[in-house]
Structures are given as C-alpha cells and as structure tokens.
C-alpha cells in the first residue's frame, strides 16, 4: 500500500475564523493522535499570504493539505479557492472544504471551483472526530500526494 508513513510530519493549513471551530479541530486531531503540524489562519487574505509566503509568513512550509471554511471575513472561502486553483504553484495542494451548509447549490459551486472535497461540519464533537479520522485515513494514508518539489 502506498503510504506517507515514512514522511516525518504532515503540514496542515486550517483556514477558519471561528475560535470554537479551531479549538474543536485541534481537539479532534489530538483525539486521533495525528502526527501533524497544524497552521491556523483566520481569514482568506491571511491564508493567501501564508500560501505565497509573504510578510510574516516567509518561513512557513508549503502545506500538504488545506482545510478551508467557507464563511470567512475579508476574503471568503470561495474567492480564496479560486485564487489557489489559479496559481501554478498552489493548485496541486488538496483543498478540503468544511462547511455548515448542505445546500446542493453550494456543493456544486465549490466543486466547479475545483475543491478536492466538500464536507459538512457535523453537529456534534464525536461526529467531528469521526470526520477528522476519515480525512486522515483518506488524504494522509490512502492518497498519494504530490511531492513538495512540484510546488515551487
């Protein structure tokens, strides 16, 4: 089975404005004991700066995975996603959209914008833990991710 076991740590960028959700994500990752480094930014513009390593983000790594909330201040998740997928150096990073909305139209639109997958935030914590487990299982174990050298 192809895997990423031999990699030291997975860098995850969480783009989320609600501190409650940030904490929940952290807790859920703790719960499943994922060997990962979690970077957190609170809005779309910050996230974009992080990805382009601008300003204070000059020394951050390129993330292996992006967890993207949709309703963000300043630049919302849809705009950011569009920007990411337009950038040659960023478009290979898998973007997982996390949203409260289960509206089909929202879902369709996000896939049109080339989201790698769309997940609804579960209403309870246990559901959230399950979700994180699933993400880890699929994106960090099953799937072969592009090498970082691709991302210039």
């Amino acid at each position: 089975m192809p895997n990423n076991f031999d990699k030291k740590k997975i860098d995850i960028l969480l783009i989320e404005d609600s501190p409650g959700d940030v904490r929940l994500t952290k807790e859920a990752l703790n719960e499943i004991k994922m060997d990962s480094e979690l970077y957190i930014v609170n809005d779309g513009l910050e996230a974009y700066a992080f990805l382009l390593k601008k300003g204070k983000y000059q020394n951050v790594p390129t993330p292996d995975l992006i967890l993207l909330d949709l309703n963000l201040p300043r630049m919302d998740g849809r705009e950011l996603l569009e920007l990411i997928k337009e950038q040659e150096s960023l478009k290979s990073i898998p973007v997982i959209v996390l949203s409260t909305s289960n509206d089909q139209e929202d879902v369709n639109k996000l896939y049109m914008l080339q989201a790698n997958c769309y997940l609804t935030k579960p209403v309870d914590f246990l559901g959230f833990v399950e979700l994180m487990k699933a993400i880890e299982m699929f994106w960090l174990r099953l799937v072969l991710l592009p090498s970082k050298s691709v991302k210039k």
């Binding site: 609600s18 409650g20 959700d21 929940l24 807790e27 409260t100 909305s101 289960n102 509206d103 089909q104 139209e105 935030k121 209403v123 309870d124 914590f125 246990l126 959230f128």
Partner: protein, 818 residues
C-alpha cells in the same frame, strides 16, 4: 433638275470651304514664316553693325591706352612739366613725344586722325600730331574733364561747319606713383563710318542701313540718297519710334515714302539710332508668288469638283424621275402600271417594292368594295333590333310599377315588427342603446374610397378630429335600464350628455368603429366607461348590426352589461394576491437566512457539550450527566428543526425547473431511500401504473417519500401496507383534466379535527417519546403540491388508516413554475 441643283448647292461649299481654309492657313503660315525670317535678318544686321562699330572704337581705344602707358611717354611728359618751356629738355621731350610717339601712330584712313596731349592742369594742348593745334586750350571739353580720371569715349559728334562726323577718345597719362602728367586725346574722323554701316549688307538690292541722331539728322547717309544732305531732319515711323528709345521691327514708309520693313535699334552708348530697311515689294516677293500659285490651284480644284458633281447628280436623278413618273400614272388610277428598271442597286429594290405596292393597292380596293356592301346590310339589321328592344323596355317598366306596389305592402309588415321590437327594447332589464352611424359611414366612404379602413394612419393624422367625427354617430333610442346604468335623470339628459360616458376615443375608434366600418356585425368587448355623473363604470358591451343595415349602418344595437362590482372584486383580489406573494417571499428568505445562520452557534453548543460529556464525565454526578444529555439532545433536535425549516423554505426558492417525470421511477427511488425503514417495519408498498407528470423531479421524490414514510411511521398493530393509486378527473372550476393521487395506509389514522393541523409546519400530534419527528413532512408535502398547482387533503378513520389525496394538473403548463 431640282435635285441636281441642290446637290451642286451642297457639294460645292462642302468641298470648297475646307479647301479655302487649308490654303489660307498655308499661305498665312508661309507669309508669317518669311516675314519672321526677314525681321530676324534685319535686326541681326543692326546688331552686326553695332558690334563692328564697337570693335572699331575699341581697337582705337586700346591703341590710345597703350600709348598712355609707355614709360618713355611718361618720362618725357614729366620732364616737360618739370622744366620751363624754354629749357632745351622741354623742347627735346616735346619733340620726342610728337615724332616718336604721336605722329607714328596716326592712321591714314579709318582710325585716329590726330593725337594730342593736354596739360593736366590747364587743358592746354602741349603736344599734338597736328602742329596747328598746339597752344589751344580744351579745358571745357568733356573729353578733357572726364579723361583726367579714366579712359573716356565721347559721343559721336556731327560738326556742321566742317561737315564731319567726329569722335574723341581720351585717357589719362599717369606716372607709376599715380601723378597725372597729361591727358592723351585721340581724334577719329568718322567720315569712314558710312562705309562701315553700308558694308556687306546687300542681301536685297533695296536694303540699306543708316544712323540717325536725336535731332532726326542723318549721321551716315542712306544708300540711294545722294541728293539728300545731313542737315535736313527726317521723320518716319521707324525713326520716331526708335528715337523714343524703342528697338523693334515694323512695316512703315521710309524717308522717300516707299513702304519698307525696317528694323531699328536705339544705341544708348552713342545716343544714336541705327535703322536697316528693305523695300516691302522686294522683300515679300516670295509670298506674292505663293499667293498666285494658291489661287490658281483653288480654281482648278473647284472646276474639277463642279464637273464631278454634274456627272454624279445626273446619274442619281434619272431613276428617281422614272419612279416619279410611274407614281403619277398610278395616282391617276392606272393600277396596272409597272416599272421596268434594269439595275442592281437600291433603285432596283425600290422599283420592285413599288410594283408590289401597286399590286397590294389593287387587292385592297377590291376588299373595300366588299366591306362597304356588308356595312350597309348591318345597318338595316341594327335598326330592326332597336325597335324590338324598345318594345321589351315598355313591358319591363310596367312590371317595375307593380313591384313598387308589392314593396309598399312588405313595408307595412316591417313596421309592425318594429313596434314589437320597441316593446322588448323598452322593457329589457339590460341597458340597450340604438345608434345611427350612417353619416359617419358616408364620411368614411368619401374619405377612404371604400378601401379597408386601416385606422392607425388616420389616428395619427386626424387625432384632434376624432371626437368631432364620432359625433356623427347619432343616438336614436335608449331604454330605461340604460338611463339608470348611466345615472341620467331621463332619456333627454342621457341623449344630450351621451359623450361624457366615453373615456378613450382612440380605443372606441379602434375597437368599435373600425371593425363596424370593415363589415363586422357583432362585437363584444370589455372596457371602462363613465356615467354621466362621472362615476367609474366597467362594462361588457355587445354591439350588433341588424340584418339589412350592414352597409348603411343606419341601425346599430348596443347592449351594455355592468360588471363593475365583479371588476372591483377582481382588482382587490389581485392586489391581495400580490401582497401575499410578497410577504411569502420575504418569509421564505427570512426562514432561509435564519436557519442557515442559526446552525453555527447551535453546532458550537452541541459540540462543546459533547466534549464536556466526553472529557469531564467523571467529574459530574448523575444529575449533571443527565442535564448534559438533555442539553445535547435538545441541540440535536433544534438542529433537525432548523434543517427542516431550511428545507421547507427552499421549496419555492430553490425549486428546480419542471420536466416530464415518470412517477413509477420516482416511487422506485423512494423505496430505495426508505429501504431501511421498509425492512425494519416489514412494510409493503403497492402502486398501480402511475402516469407521467410535468413536475420538479427532486420535489416529487420528497413528496412521495414524506407520505410513504409517514404511512410506515404511523403504523398500527398490523404490518404497514401503503397503496398508491391514480385516476383522471375533471376540475370543477376550469374543466381541466387533473390527476388525482391517493396514498393510502393502514396505520393509526387521524381524528377529523386534526385534518387541517397536520399540514401546518411543526404541528405534531404525538410527543417525541411516542414517535420521532419534527412535524414538517406533511407541511413540505403540501407546499410542494401547491407549487405544482395542486391541492392535498386527508381522509381518515381512526384505527383503520388514512388516505392522503392530492391533485396534479395533467397538462404541461403549471402555474408558478420556477
């Protein structure tokens, strides 16, 4: 011989005029050329003379100047000036000058006759080749004054006393240091000048060249004028023009009165006029000869043309004379005459045509005779027929008179009908009017020439006149009902104020008048009017034209039905419906936004409660754990409620477009979705062959899923059986075909008092503990059906089962489809 004369008349000028023109041009150009050459010749002779004379003067000037520059001459002169006249040096120097330098240079003929040296200060002649001149003073002479400065050539002078023409040249004698030591003067005898001027100019025997001075006196004598002398002034056109300062070539009479061509030049250096003249008779002799040759040639050609014309015209006229003669013979009536012409040209063809014509004339004359006879015959026939027709007409007139009588009788019958009609008219409960539009009809017929009345154009052009024109319609009768409807006091007031009831004249013209004018006999329309008191009225108007009045429009019957109350209600309803729709939309968008935004905090509450439950459960007592459990439970239910509300609100706002849907497929999909429930409760779902409907596919699934799930959920003691059936019915209101669907279960049933309530959102008949659910399923079902223009209701018997019945339209168009 008319043609012959004409031919000559035209031929001669045609050939001669160009000939004359050509000859004249030729002659003129030759003359011009000769004249021109002559002029050039004469003026070049003048130039030649001037040049050679100049050369003569210049040669002598050079000689004079060269003597002035001789060092010995200068030396001697210095010595003379520096010594007394009595000193031997003075005399030696003087003699040296005279014998060595002056005398040796004197020319025998055609040159400087005398050399003299003048004292630089006094102008005294101190040395000269002519000893008689020594001691004379010339201090006033121009050649002395100018000659002190530079070489000077004086004007040619005619010395009257001596009868000599002289010219003085002078030049200063200067030492190398620039000291003026004398003026050398040369004296030229110009009696030789005549020879120079006359020399080598004998191109013509009569040609001569001479000089004239400003006083009109000859300076050199002309060739042939030995008897003339210098003293007599001469006046000719050439001399006069030349002395005026002109240089030209002209024709004029010379000093002897002989016509000459003369070239004259004014020579400003000499202040003289030089003229070269030649006698015209001799100079222009070649032109005269040319003229004679041309005239002879011209006459010769005219003679030849004349001869040719005579021959040609005679040849041409002869056949015409023959034709002329033959035509005269035929004209006199001799149609048997023919022409015999033996020739191959057009005259032969002409004679043949002529013969043919004569033959045709013969035939035609015969036919004319026959026709004349027939015409006479026909005239007799016609007279007979006219007599017969007159008789027939008399009979017809009698018949017509009897028909008029019949008409009178039938008119009486019509009058009786009219009385019956009046009675009905007056008593009718419906408002009735009778109008007469015959005048309007006449007006339009006149204006529009019976074409189809396309009034749009008319409306544009005569908009202001419409009211006037419509007043040509006369209101003849109105009944009591009409008076009442229009709120008039009596018939009279109504008649007078009838036009107050019309609101829109253009519309009236378009909807009533034009169709009637175009031959419609029945019109029905709905429209706004006003009563005489000015109140609004909404009516249905029927206009009909009784048989027989279609063209005259003398009688138009109008019935008016008042639908104002109905209209008012309709308007109110429309407004209400609009308001309702608006508030509905607002509600929907509110519900959508609210439910969406409510989810976030709710999720926080639920998640963190759960985290507490998970992490700190050991720190809580039983009560605490129970409370948290309820709190989590409540949050979850609230989440469900919000989701349902969201779903409910999306029925209108997020509905998909309609398409043709096979309901059998829909039920199969629902069965799949409910697989778990069906298996758990061992439910059976039975359905007939269901039809296709025009609907939103997703909503159809939701509808049937909610109804079937309800049937399963609210099952009684028996295993649930759900039956779905369909039939076609007619809608009572609009007679459209509909489908009537029934979803029947064998569940617990519903009390009749709850029949309405179950379709209201979040209304539940059971507690959460009994049966789970938010109470939205049926509300959504109802809303979906309403969106599809259908209705849903329930029929039920407690303990036996419920029937959910709903309709969907059969036709494809569904109102409110989004």
């Amino acid at each position: 011989m008319k043609i012959f004369q004409k031919l000559l008349f035209y031929f001669l000028p045609i050939s001669i005029i160009p000939l004359i023109i050509v000859v004249s041009i030729n002659y003129a150009s030759s003359h011009y050329y000769i004249h021109n050459a002559l002029e050039t010749h004469l003026s070049s002779i003048n130039q030649l003379k001037i040049t050679s004379f100049n050369r003569f003067v210049k040669t002598n000037t050079y000689l004079l100047e060269s003597i002035c520059q001789r060092p010995l001459v200068i030396d001697n002169l210095v010595k003379m000036l520096d010594h007394q006249r009595t000193d031997p040096e003075y005399i030696i120097s003087k003699n040296n000058l005279i014998y060595i330098h002056l005398n040796t240079n004197v020319a025998e003929t055609g040159g400087i006759e005398t050399f003299s040296i003048l004292h630089p200060e006094t102008g005294e002649i101190i040395a000269s080749s002519d000893p008689s001149l020594i001691g004379k003073f010339k201090e006033n002479k121009e050649y002395y004054i100018k000659g002190r400065q530079e070489t000077f050539i004086d004007q040619i002078t005619y010395l009257i006393n001596e009868k000599r023409i002289v010219l003085h040249i002078s030049s200063p004698i200067l030492t190398p240091s620039g000291r003026l030591v004398g003026v050398l003067v040369g004296h030229i005898n110009l009696n030789e000048l005549t020879d120079i001027i006359q020399k080598d100019t004998n191109s013509f025997s009569s040609q001569e060249t001479y000089l004239v001075n400003k006083a009109h006196l000859f300076i050199t004598l002309p060739k042939h004028t030995d008897n003339l002398n210098y003293q007599v002034p001469v006046f000719t056109q050439g001399i006069d023009n030349c002395l005026a300062g002109n240089t030209s070539v002209e024709e004029y009479n010379n000093y002897l009165g002989i016509p000459v061509i003369g070239s004259y030049n004014w020579v400003p250096d000499w202040q003289l006029c030089i003229l070269t003249e030649v006698e015209q008779s001799i100079a222009l002799q070649p032109t005269e000869q040319l003229k004679t040759i041309y005239v002879i040639l011209l006459f010769l050609i005219i003679f030849i043309i004349f001869g040719l014309a005579v021959i040609f015209s005679k040849n041409f006229v002869k056949p015409i004379q023959i034709l002329n003669k033959s035509a005269k013979i035929i004209g006199e009536g001799n149609l048997d005459h023919r022409i015999n012409l033996t020739s191959t040209n057009e005259f032969m063809e002409l004679s043949q045509s002529f013969n043919q014509m004569a033959e045709n004339l013969q035939i035609e004359q015969y036919q004319n005779d026959v026709m004349l006879k027939e015409l006479l015959h026909a005239r007799i026939n016609l007279e007979n027929r006219v007599d017969e027709r007159t008789k027939e007409l008399k009979i017809a007139q009698e018949n017509a008179l009897s028909m008029v009588d019949d008409l009178r009788v039938s008119r009486n019958i019509a009058f009786e009908n009219e009385i019956n009609f009046r009675t009905i008219f007056e008593d009718s409960p419906i408002a009735l009017l009778e109008k007469d539009a015959s005048e309007l009809k006449v007006f339009f017929d006149k204006t529009y020439d019976r074409k189809k009345y396309e009034m749009d154009e008319y409306l544009k052009k005569y908009n202001l006149e419409i009211e006037d024109k419509l007043k040509l319609i006369k209101l003849k009768h109105v009944n009591q009902a009409a008076i009442k409807l229009y709120e008039a006091k009596d018939e009279n007031e109504f008649m007078q104020n009838h036009y107050k009831t019309i609101i829109d004249y253009d519309l009236m013209l378009k909807e009533e008048i034009i169709p009637i004018l175009n031959g419609e006999t029945f019109i029905r329309f709905e429209g706004a009017k006003k009563t005489i008191k000015g109140n609004d009225l909404w009516t249905i108007t029927n206009i009909s034209i009784p048989e027989g009045y279609e063209y005259s429009l003398e009688k138009i019957l109008i019935s008016i039905q008042d639908i104002t109350p109905i209209k008012n209600v309709q308007t109110e309803l429309k407004i209400k419906a609009l308001e309702l729709e608006k508030s509905n939309q607002e509600l929907e968008s509110f519900a959508y936004v609210a439910s969406h935004d409510l989810q976030e905090p709710l999720r926080m509450v639920a998640s963190y409660l759960q985290l507490i439950q998970k992490r700190y459960t050991d720190l809580l007592d039983d009560d605490g754990r129970e409370f948290i459990k309820y709190a989590i439970d409540g949050a979850k239910r609230m989440k469900n409620l919000i989701n349902d509300l969201l779903q409910f609100s999306r029925i209108e706002t997020r509905g998909q477009s309609f398409s043709n849907i096979n309901l059998n497929t829909v039920i199969e999909e629902v069965k799949l979705n409910l697989k778990e429930h069906i298996e758990t409760d061992q439910a059976t779902i039975i359905f007939d062959d269901l039809p296709q409907v025009f609907a939103d596919y997703g909503q159809m699934i939701q509808l049937f899923q909610n109804l079937i799930a309800n049937g399963i959920k609210f099952h009684g003691t028996q295993k649930p059986i759900i039956k779905i059936s369909c039939e076609e019915i007619k809608n009572n209101q609009n007679q459209e075909t509909q489908y009537l669907f029934t979803v029947e279960d064998n569940g617990i049933g519903i009390k009749q008092e709850y029949y309405e309530r179950i379709f209201v959102i979040f209304q539940r008949l059971h507690t959460q503990n009994e049966i789970e659910g938010t109470g939205i399923g049926l509300a959504i079902a109802k809303r979906i059906i309403e969106r599809h223009s259908g209705t849903i209701w329930v029929e039920s018997e407690e303990g036996v089962g419920s029937k959910f019945i709903f309709t969907l339209p059969k036709k494809k168009e569904v109102k409110n489809a989004k």
